[in-house]
């Protein structure tokens, strides 16, 4: 099947191209791209315009989503896009082979999730406008993966279009409304179109997706290039729009994942951010440069968010700084600015990506920072969303100045959670611990700035269960809470007020705090209604079934899961080296951390021992002093006893410091690494499902062939339907897999970053404490020295 053959091998040339681009001077690169874009599109532009004018948009043009182009573009255009594709990749065989190949191509395209929209636009070409409008409206409103279904069916031309119709439920008003706007848009000058096309290529080059990109690129180009229609350009823009919107929707949107996925292939970095920054930048250009266009765009976007600013803002929230930096770009009227914006986002990818680019790490950052600071001023005349944006932006700017602009710091600024006042409620074995969870936040999504709720331990576990159920399969790394400890809790329940149970409670309290902080620091988990409910709602339904997480069983469970993963890995023919390496890395890190944890724990044990021994030495010194009849010596000895008492305190603090700085931190990371492995596991499952579906599809095909051979037309129809059905499934599953892969990749990168930051912070903390205690020690010795000298 064309799908597999075309998809699976990540074409090297592409990635190389990308690399080359990356390694080039940023400015140079940008201009290059622009030029290319110009060339590409200028040729196409003229004719389209005329056509555009002539084409009477019969039914209603959908929102600028580029419903239009599809309609205008006929079968011919379809083929032509293919040829235009050759402009980028002249080698593509598809170009030469028209319709048949085209079918394949569309099939491929549909495979790659992000293209759903573009597919749709293509397919509609054959179909009457209305349907298209519907389709697009539907897409715009619900840019979910369902649209894909429509795409696939489209490939077989008009008769299957019904399916598309089904998919696109919410056509309605938007159609007409946006129609008008669309019209307007069309009437805009060629210039605007050119601009548009400029944007597009820029976007493409920025997402230099080696493997799948191929399809995407063609599509985009195709749409933009298709000489038949000026509209063609619009579709292209539409695709961009789609991407943007989806980008902002990121979490809900499958397609967006797709797009994210592409850059990842090549970049290995923080693809999502990059991606979003990029489209955003492109978007910004549009609205600004062409007013009329901008409007349609806005309305289009409206389906997701009220205006372009809206989605962007969302993106900004989600992705914080990077996205924010992109946002300012929107406000910059000049194309130059938006260009620089694009540049920056690219640089970011560089920063986070492989070090193939030899840019110093600092300089791009600085630049970016400068730009960011420059942008706010320009943003004064921004869109309606600007106000809120500016706020968050300036906030982030302040932080940039102070802290060097790290994502997490911003997060922390926005929301911080403390878990306090552990309290035993009830008696006997039914007793449980309850904690006060206080949230302080600047985020608008919460009703108040500060609020406190009371939660029991199982609530924390319940939250985790909900989150991991919802987000785990998507490849998110859901931070795990501390596991239940039967031993520790029993001690507390029995009411033993000894130091070990106090220690246990304190450790757990701190662990819960870190757990929640990690959850809210995660941009997508923070958006989860359950998280909000957990933080805000007075009464929470009692969490049940948390028993599964009890005790050491939890860690064991993770171990089992990870074992299963490694077994599956052997089965899975890993096409992506990154994941292979990463999994190994994670596993070895896991072992290392476990080892470190034991070591630190033993260090803590020794520290505690030292503290105890010091205490008893202090006691015996005091006795020795009291028995001494030489007054000076006696005095010195009792002084010494006091000094030793103080030192015991120091040792105790040091033990606590060791515990909380390292032992607990490392324990957290052992848990988190488990979660990381879990996300790999989920990816593997997605892969498995996809493979299974493919196998099933293969079988169906074989049956079809047999039926064909046997000449049984009645059954043949059924078989064809089944094949179609399975094709959809395969596409869906593959998209799921890509999506999960993308997410996992992003999550793991985020995890790595957090890890480095976290450790650094803790180490500094630790050193500060240690230094302090050392200085205290010096004071003690200095005070004691004269006493010792005074003995004689």
């Amino acid at each position: 099947m064309a799908t597999s053959s075309e998809r699976s091998p990540p074409p090297f040339p592409d990635s190389e191209d990308h690399d080359v681009l990356d390694s080039e001077e940023v400015g140079g690169r940008d201009s290059d791209e622009d030029d290319v874009g110009d060339e590409l599109f200028t040729s196409a532009v003229n004719s389209p315009l005329t056509e555009h004018g002539s084409t009477p948009s019969p039914a209603s043009q959908p929102s600028d989503v580029s419903m239009k182009p599809p309609r205008d573009i006929m079968d011919d255009p379809l083929i032509e896009p293919l040829s235009s594709q050759t402009e980028n990749k002249p080698t593509s065989e598809d170009a030469s082979e028209p319709s048949d190949d085209f079918v394949d191509l569309t099939g491929n395209i549909t495979d790659s999730p992000g293209d759903a929209a573009t597919d749709a636009t293509e397919i509609p070409l054959d179909e009457p406008a209305d349907d298209f409008v519907d389709l697009f409206g539907g897409e715009a409103e619900a840019p979910r993966g369902k649209v894909v279904v429509a795409d696939v069916t489209i490939e077989t031309a008009a008769h299957k279009r019904e399916a598309a119709d089904d998919v696109t439920d919410p056509p309605g008003d938007r159609k007409t409304g946006s129609n008008d706007e669309e019209q307007e848009a069309k009437e805009t000058s060629t210039d605007s179109i050119i601009d548009l096309s400029d944007d597009l290529p820029a976007g493409d080059s920025q997402q230099p997706p080696p493997a799948r990109d191929r399809f995407v690129d063609p599509l985009v180009n195709l749409l933009s290039d298709s000489p038949a229609a000026a509209d063609a350009k619009i579709p292209s823009r539409a695709t961009v729009d789609l991407f943007e919107d989806e980008g902002s929707d990121f979490f809900a949107d499958p397609r967006q994942h797709k797009s994210a996925h592409q850059p990842q292939k090549s970049l290995f970095g923080e693809p999502d951010e990059d991606l979003f920054g990029e489209p955003l930048g492109a978007a910004s250009k549009k609205p600004v440069s062409k007013e009329p266009r901008g409007k349609p765009v806005a309305t289009k976007a409206g389906s997701n968010v009220s205006n372009t600013g809206g989605p962007l803002q969302e993106a900004a929230d989600l992705f914080s700084e990077e996205a924010v930096t992109a946002v300012p770009g929107i406000k910059n009227a000049s194309t130059v600015n938006s260009k620089t914006n694009g540049v920056h986002s690219e640089e970011e990818t560089d920063i986070f990506a492989e070090a193939t680019v030899e840019l110093s790490l600092d300089s791009p950052r600085d630049e970016r920072r400068k730009d960011v600071s420059a942008k706010p001023s320009a943003s004064a005349s921004a869109l309606s969303a600007a106000a809120s944006l500016a706020k968050s932006q300036s906030a982030s700017l302040e932080e940039l100045d102070e802290e060097g602009g790290e994502e997490e710091q911003e997060d922390e600024f926005e929301i911080s959670i403390s878990v306090k006042d552990p309290e035993k409620i009830g008696d006997g074995m039914n007793a449980y611990m309850a904690y006060k969870v206080t949230t302080q936040t600047q985020l608008a999504m919460f009703r108040n700035k500060t609020f406190t709720v009371r939660r029991r331990f199982s609530d924390f576990l319940g939250l985790y269960e909900k989150l991991s159920e919802k987000h785990g399969p998507n490849g998110f790394i859901v931070p795990p809470p501390p596991e239940k400890s039967i031993l520790g809790m029993t001690k507390v329940k029995v009411g033993k007020e000894d130091s070990s149970s106090a220690d246990f409670v304190e450790r757990r309290r701190a662990a819960l705090e870190r757990y929640l902080q990690r959850v809210v620091n995660h941009p997508s988990l923070l958006q989860d209604p359950d998280v909000r409910e957990f933080l805000e709602r007075e009464e929470l339904p009692r969490a049940v079934g948390t028993q599964a997480l009890s005790g050491a069983g939890f860690l064991k469970m993770i171990n089992k899961a990870t074992d299963a993963v490694s077994k599956m890995t052997i089965k899975m023919n890993e096409s992506d080296v990154w994941f292979e390496e990463k999994l190994q890395e994670v596993e070895s890190a896991d072992q290392q951390f476990r080892k470190l944890h034991t070591l630190v724990e033993s260090l803590v044990v020794h520290r505690k021992e030292l503290s105890l021994n010091t205490a008893s030495f202090a006691k015996s010194t005091a006795m020795l002093g009291s028995a001494e009849d030489n007054t000076a010596l006696s005095r010195a000895l009792s002084q010494l006893a006091e000094v030793e008492d103080k030192m015991e305190q120091l040792h105790q603090e040091q033990a606590a410091n060791d515990t909380f700085s390292f032992a607990e931190l490392i324990a957290d990371y052992v848990r988190l690494l488990g979660a990381v492995r879990g996300s790999f596991d989920h990816r593997m499952k997605a892969w498995q499902r996809w493979q299974d579906a493919q196998a099933a599809l293969q079988k169906k095909r074989e049956t079809e062939a047999k039926l064909l051979w046997a000449n049984k037309p009645d059954k043949l129809q059924l078989a064809k339907e089944e094949i179609a059905e399975w094709e959809v499934k395969v596409t869906q599953y593959e998209r799921d897999f890509d999506k999960v892969s993308a997410t996992v990749r992003k999550e793991v990168n985020r995890f790595d970053k957090e890890k480095a930051k976290n450790f650094k912070r803790e180490i500094i903390n630790y050193l500060e404490c240690h230094l302090q205690s050392q200085q205290q020690l010096i004071k003690y010795w200095e005070a004691f020295l004269p006493e010792a000298k005074a003995i004689a």
Partner: protein
């Protein structure tokens, strides 16, 4: 009364035990002393048996009046190259490290003997320090103090009422101090051992942090790896700090407390010997009173001898006690000052280093 003619031909105050050699299970100590006459040095090698021989001879100078009133410098328990757990426990501080402390203690023992006005006169000391022939090996232990029976006796006579107020208080005081000094030394040993364990744990932690270094050029990974390496250095210096703290503890206060506790022990032995003499004397007096005329003379004679002996002992013992008290306070003071100074130095050095490392950490690009 015989007059000891032989005095030492070497300087007593700078006798050194410079080296320890392991020969199978036995430890051989190299002892260096400077000749009084000129620039030459005596180098002799002695085993623990030789030391014990010397100690025996010192104990058994029957012809020296009041020898029993001497507080003999105490010889540490026997060490062997591969000590059993029990021996290690007996040795306490002296078992730590590579016997340097043990050498120090032997050195101190020899110096005390050489400096002692009565003991240094003994020929055995001269032989021990200068003769190239190892003196103690051919004669197996003779006249061994039967420590076990002594311990039993001690218990019995501990509460014996003294005739002399001075000795009574000294005995009481000594009893308390012996006990406390011993506990203090043991507790302090625990402290030092914990410190050593911490040092080891830090070393392990530091070493395995190096294994956490992740390859790759990803900046985050590099940052993490860098943090790991630096943290490893931090823990290495924590380890060094702890090691030197433990060493300071051992070399100063540890040694001091050990010495203190053994000196108290020696004083206790001396006081015990005096008490025994006292008991003996009182028994002789009673016997003399009750004795039948026939034996009266003999009993009186015995009583007189005992009285003379006891008085000799008391005279020597009083001197010894005074000397001991002064020496002890001086020793403890010296120990404490030295300890404090060393710890202060270590703490300051470490603080400096931690500070540097902290700055280095802050310097890492975020």
């Amino acid at each position: 009364m015989m007059v000891m003619t032989s005095t030492l031909s070497v300087h007593g105050h700078n006798i050194k035990v410079t080296e320890v050699l392991k020969d199978g299970d036995t430890l051989t100590f190299l002892i260096v002393s400077q000749k009084l006459s000129g620039t030459g040095e005596h180098h002799v090698d002695r085993t623990y048996d030789d030391f014990e021989w010397l100690q025996q001879l010192l104990f058994s100078q029957e012809d020296e009046p009041g020898i029993q009133g001497v507080i003999f410098p105490s010889l540490p328990a026997k060490a062997s190259a591969n000590p059993s757990a029990k021996v290690m426990k007996q040795l306490g501080f002296l078992g730590l490290g590579e016997w340097q402390l043990y050498c120090k203690v032997l050195e101190r023992y020899l110096r005390q003997v050489a400096a002692h006005s009565i003991l240094s006169k003994n020929k055995a000391v001269e032989i021990f320090l200068t003769s190239s022939e190892p003196p103690g090996r051919q004669r197996a232990r003779k006249n061994l103090f039967n420590r076990l029976s002594q311990a039993v006796e001690e218990r019995r006579k501990e509460g014996y009422k003294d005739v002399d107020e001075f000795f009574q208080t000294e005995r009481n005081h000594n009893l308390v101090l012996t006990c406390y000094a011993k506990t203090a030394a043991e507790r302090f040993l625990d402290v030092v051992q914990s410190e050593q364990k911490i040092a080891v744990a830090c070393a392990h932690f530091s070493a395995s942090l190096h294994l956490c270094v992740e390859p790759g050029e990803d900046p985050d990974k590099q940052a993490f790896s860098k943090a790991c390496v630096q943290l490893s250095e931090v823990f290495d210096s924590i380890k060094k700090n702890m090691t030197s703290v433990a060493e300071n503890d051992m070399n100063t206060l540890g040694l001091g407390l050990d010495l203190e506790s053994r000196c108290q022990e020696a004083e206790k032995e001396m006081l015990f010997r005096r008490t025994c003499k006292l008991v003996e004397l009182e028994a002789a007096r009673r016997n003399a009173e009750k004795a039948k005329p026939l034996k009266k003379a003999a009993m009186e004679e015995a009583k007189k001898t005992a009285e003379i002996e006891f008085n000799d002992i008391c005279v020597v013992a009083k001197q010894e006690v005074h000397r001991f008290r002064a020496a002890r306070v001086k020793m403890l003071q010296h120990t404490l000052v030295q300890w404090c100074e060393k710890q202060l130095l270590t703490a300051k050095e470490s603080a400096d280093q931690f500070n540097q490392q902290l700055q280095a950490f802050r310097g890492i690009a975020p």
